[in-house]
Amino acid sequence: MTPVAREADVHLPIRNGTNLALLNALQHELIANGWVDRGFVEAHTIGFDGVAKIVAEYPPERAAEICGVPAERIREAARVVGTADRLVSTCLQGVYQSHQATASAVAINDLNLLRGMIGKPGCTVFQMNGQPTAQNTRECGANGDIAAFLNWQNPEHIQRLARHWNVDPSVIPHWFRHTHAMQIFRYCEQGAIKLLWISGTNPAVSLPELRRIRSILGQERLFVVVQDAFLSETGRLADVVLPAALWGEKTGTFTNADRTVHLSEKAVEPPGQARSDLDIWLEFARMMELRDADGQPLLKWSSPEEAFDHFKRLTDGRPCDYSGMSYQRLRGRGQIQWPCNADHPDGKERLYEDGRFNTDPGYCEEYGHDLTTGAANEEKDYRALNPAGRAILKAAHYSPPHEQPTDDYPLLLTTGRSVFHFHTRTKTGRSPQLQQAAPEVWVEVSPEDAKQLAIGDGDLVRLQSRRGSLQGRARIADVRPGVLFVPFHYGYWDRGRAGPDGGATAANELTITDWDPVSKQPYFKVAAVRLARLEPAGDTPEGGEAR
């Protein structure tokens, strides 16, 4: 049980991979009990009838059966949501990295929209980011989306981007949404991609099914460049490693999930040969002789501030409008929330106060998808909806996760985090206090399962899935019977290796190669495994407690 769950008035410890069934039941209850703000829904949303039709099939009893929690508890949770005077909803990887991720995240938006609780004090949705800088990478195009929330299917947006860079629109790949990471790895596996440049991330520990990932990165025919601050597991599989500077060793801005922009100044020089990512990319662009339409260098600037000013001009009039910001203003004010422009010179604290949403066809970032298949809408599909600044309510049916427990693999694994470590410990593992607080991997087992398998607290156990195995100490914990939890931080860099030598410790040895059809985020929260005791508890020191 997490610290948050301990504080909860209603805790629903649902079976992994069943978020959507629960969220459909909550919407069912809002509608059945008349807890819907009809006036708001009528004036500011579209799609209510479609949602009502789907969620009508999810009375709490049905969700209770799917999710494995009592129907009465689901009703209680619905009452909390349905009768609250204010409602802030938030979610993170437990939704985004579990089965039917996008459909579930959308259902959470629906809850606030159905209750008309958005754009007012105490009424909002925080769709959180998994990493501190995920918001700004998304806005500036580094996550593969087009910068400034421009729409790849909108020819005018592509023209605008082309003018901004002074290039021909045909050099901007806009014939399909960007190729996502899981597909890039598949193309590398196929041999269709021959050069892979990995910057600031550690897929050899953080992607699912690590044996597969290592074997793809280790191919002779694939040239791998890794650009990172530390020599990670992925770096050990690279043909070329480019040491990169960390925050504090370079200047740039960060943007929070609540749109607050901060300037982070360089405090010290990067060590050794390390250079900032920007300097590395600029040097690469210079060596490649990248040119604009007039034959001039594509990148006409060299400092972080110039890059910021170039980017902010592109955001003028877009939802993430930085046009009124500058390094000088950020230094003076400390922080500014976008949109920051002539209308809101000091930024804007709250969005959607007037009940208008960013859904106009010429303005929106995406035309949307079918939540079940990920099938992309085209412009004409979207225009036919006629959203006209109204929010789009959407729903999808629950479908069972792709991997179910069997006789051979009777337990369900979920992976996650410890409060002491960030991602693959490349930074936190080098902080002695944090490393000591949670020095090694562990496996959380329910008392019921532990008893049945004769496992005691601290015993060395072995977990096995169809894809790999892992060894760690068991922790008898308050998890749902039939479910195991393993933190995913523990790779092999501190043993000087790219992969295991004997007992593996990375949770992603076990996870399944599978991802959400819309967001393309891998599913880390549902995998079938079996558990066995290897040896009794030794005197290994115990680690931290949170996940």
């Binding site: 399909f176 596996e189 196929q190 599978d514």
Partner: protein, 163 residues
């Protein structure tokens, strides 16, 4: 009534799609998204075919069984999956996938237009139950068509030019 024939054709389309989705899933077992989605869509088509059953009886229309028995399919499926894994590292798999997706798209388009015909017939015959069946199944078929198109648009650039 000729409507019987249209219902029978639609039933055949859905049955054919069950088999075809499963074949494509197994043939491309290393394309993990295709594998899982095709099995989900096969289940959708199977439900459609089941729900058409009472109407086949109502109109005395001919039913279509799966074109191969389940046991045979499960044996062949294993062979296909193994094959997929053995060939998974070859760039040629991209072209095979594209051609399979193209065939799927055409089969779904056939099912989609068969639904339209049955719906028109149902309206004229004042068969509200059959018209309601269209309402609850057709959107899934329509989304299957959009899915195949999306996948084809995704796979074409890399396969035809990059690979």
């Amino acid at each position: 009534m000729k409507l019987a024939r249209a219902i029978s054709q639609l039933h055949r389309s859905e049955r054919d799609l069950v088999g075809e989705y499963r074949r494509v899933a197994d043939r491309h077992a290393v394309e993990h998204d295709v594998y899982h989605m095709c099995h989900l869509l096969a289940a959708q088509c199977s439900t459609h075919a089941e729900r058409l059953q009472p109407f086949l009886e109502r109109y005395g229309a001919q039913a279509h069984e799966l074109d191969a028995p389940e046991l045979w399919e499960s044996v062949v499926g294993t062979v296909r999956r193994t094959n997929a894994k053995l060939l998974g590292r070859s760039p040629a798999t991209g072209l095979l996938l594209l051609s399979d997706l193209r065939r799927l798209y055409l089969l779904v388009a056939e099912a989609e237009i068969n639904w339209r015909m049955v719906r028109q017939g149902a309206m004229a015959a004042r068969d509200t139950e059959l018209a309601e069946l269209f309402e609850s199944c057709h959107e899934e078929t329509w989304n299957q068509l959009k899915w195949a198109k999306t996948k084809i648009k995704e796979a074409s650039p890399q396969t035809l030019v990059g690979g």
